[in-house]
Structure formats: structure tokens, C-alpha cells
Symmetry: C2
Subunit: 192 residues, 2 copies
């Protein structure tokens, strides 16, 4: 009986460990519904591995005619982050972020849908960041040219590439409740 | 001993059932990486419950200044789907879809970022659809005005509301491999 109990105890431990591993990966619907903007970070860095996972998620978005017009500039150097983004909108988020992803579009390819493709990539970036337990906030670039020109210069981004949005990423230092934006009145069934 | 074994068997069953429930919800990163465009459906309807879950996911996207400029027209009537979308691009996807979501933006609110907000909602819609085991494809609207004018008329969409994209949704009748779009050369570290 002792032997049987030891075997059963080992089995239970293995099953529970399997469950815990499963439970550590949040479901897609949960991640979509609980993602919210994080504007304050601990200052800790974001690992290269996590950044590559996040960028892979960005590049998994759909694009018109599979054009993949996205280009990404990733800044992790604290001084470079501060000098490039520290005096613009949301400067607080930038000064505490561990990394910044500038989502850009190549705009000289006669692709009139580039900003939609790059917006889909940006949303994937936000979701993957949240799925990894990190935080982020979408700060707008294009078409607010006065915001993007200084960034374009500071990061040496060529003229035919346009920053669509700028996403600071880091370990959250705040835990805001996600907004409830469900409004049935925004849905029109069958026709307007 | 018999009693103990029965108790242990019940415990194991409960634990395994819990595991299975957990496993039935795919992780966010898996959903992002395995989503791909589905252009052929079985013709089966999409339940109202699933459509509302998908629309909730859409409305969970971030928007500039929390403006929520999105408006959705959802068509489930087969004849209406066919007469509205059956002769345009990707008509095959539309004639077999169970529902169509037209993602629109309210464009008279001085919100220059409306198409980015609505694109983020569209990406959430595609991801939630895939998470539910359904399929979808993003077909482009704005700024291709010649595509959206007939839809605007057919669905009675007012002038100050612009269809950004049109998403047929249904039970997949094909199982294409997701494209591998990971290109490290699209990433520039620290500066261009």
C-alpha cells in the first residue's frame, strides 16, 4: 500500500505540474479582454528573447497582398530612449520603459493600406506584450507629422519609411483596471 | 485501501478534467502565431453568442484618447450577404461565409487616428474568431473608395461613417498553413 501511495503521489504531482504549466499561458480571449494601456514601468530591461517574441507576433499580422510593409526600430539604450522620446507626449512612460518599439511603414511601395497593416502589427505587439506579463501603451505617430519628424531624425529613419506609432514596453509599475468599452449601440445588425 | 483508491481515482479525474478545460482555450501567443486568412467556409451560420464575443474583442482594442470611433455593421442574412458582397473582391469567401462584419469608423469627430483605432479592432476580431475555432479574412475597404461606396449604399451606412474593412467569418472549409513572415532584417536595433 505504501508503494501504491508513492506512485499515486508522483502521478498527482506530474499531473498538477502539467496543469500549472498550462495555466501559466493565458487564453487569447482573456489577453484581448484584459489588455489595457500601461504608462508607468519599473525601469527594468526587457530581454532580447521577449522582444523577439513580441516582434514575431507583430510580423504575424495580416497585410494587404502579403506586402509586409512594416519596419521596426527597437531602442533599449536608456540614454537613447530618454534623448529621443523623453520630451514628447507620454514622456513619463518613456523614461521608465525597458524598451521602445517604433512601428514604421515603408511608404514608397504603392501600398495604400500600409497604415492598416502596421496597425494590425501594433495591436499584436500590445497583445503579445501583455501575454508575457509585460505592459505597453500605443502612442500615436502618423499622421501627426510634428510628432514623428524629431523621432525620424533621432533614429536615422529614411524618408520613405514613416513611424506609425511608438510603443514603450516594460515591467508594469501600475495595475489599472481594463476599460469596459462594450457598447451594443455601436453594432448595427443586418443594416444601419 | 479500496476506499482510498476510489478517493484517489475521483481526485485524479477532477484534476484531469480541470486540465482538459484549461487546454481547450488556446494561448494568446499560439492564436497570434497560427491565425491565417481563411477564404473558404462551409456555409454554416455563426451563432449570435460567438458574434458578440468577437465584437467584444473588437471593442477591447485601444483607441486614441479613448475615442472609440468604431461602428460595426453585422450581416448574417445569406441573401443580403450575397447581394451586398457577392460580386466584389473575394466574392468566394463572402458567398460561403456565415456572417460578415463591416468595421467602420465615425470620421466626423476630428479624430485623425480613426483608421488606426479601427484597424486594431479588426485585428482583435480576426484573433477572437480564430480563438473560437472559426475563420476570417480581412478584405480592404478605405481608402479604396470604389470598393466601399456600393457597400455604404447597400447597408444604408451614413456619410460620416466610413467602412475600413470587410470581414467574412465562418466555419473554415480549408486549413492553410500560416505564413512564416518572421524577417529579422525588418528590425533595426537602437537606430536605423
Amino acid at each position: 500500500m505504501k508503494k501504491i501511495n508513492i506512485v499515486l503521489a508522483i502521478m498527482a504531482t506530474v499531473i498538477i505540474a502539467g496543469c500549472k504549466q498550462q495555466a501559466s499561458e493565458p487564453s487569447a480571449l482573456d489577453v484581448i479582454m484584459t489588455r489595457t494601456s500601461i504608462r508607468s514601468f519599473t525601469g527594468d530591461p526587457v530581454s532580447r528573447e521577449n522582444l523577439e517574441t513580441i516582434l514575431k507576433a507583430g510580423m504575424a499580422a495580416p497585410t494587404a497582398m502579403n506586402n509586409q510593409p512594416w519596419r521596426f526600430v527597437v531602442v533599449t539604450d536608456k540614454e537613447k530612449i530618454s534623448s529621443t522620446f523623453g520630451s514628447g507626449p507620454r514622456s513619463g512612460a518613456f523614461t521608465t520603459a525597458g524598451a521602445v518599439i517604433v512601428v514604421c511603414g515603408q511608404t514608397d511601395q504603392r501600398n495604400m493600406f500600409w497604415y492598416e497593416d502596421c496597425s494590425a502589427a501594433a495591436e499584436n505587439i500590445l497583445l503579445a506584450t501583455h501575454a508575457l506579463g509585460l505592459g505597453a501603451v500605443w502612442t500615436a505617430g502618423y499622421p501627426a507629422m510634428e510628432r514623428i519628424e524629431p523621432i525620424q531624425t533621432a533614429l536615422n529613419i529614411p524618408e520613405n519609411v514613416t513611424p506609425l506609432c511608438i510603443i514603450p514596453i516594460g515591467v508594469p509599475a501600475e495595475n489599472p483596471e481594463p476599460k469596459d468599452k462594450w457598447k451594443p449601440e455601436n453594432i448595427h445588425w443586418e443594416k444601419w
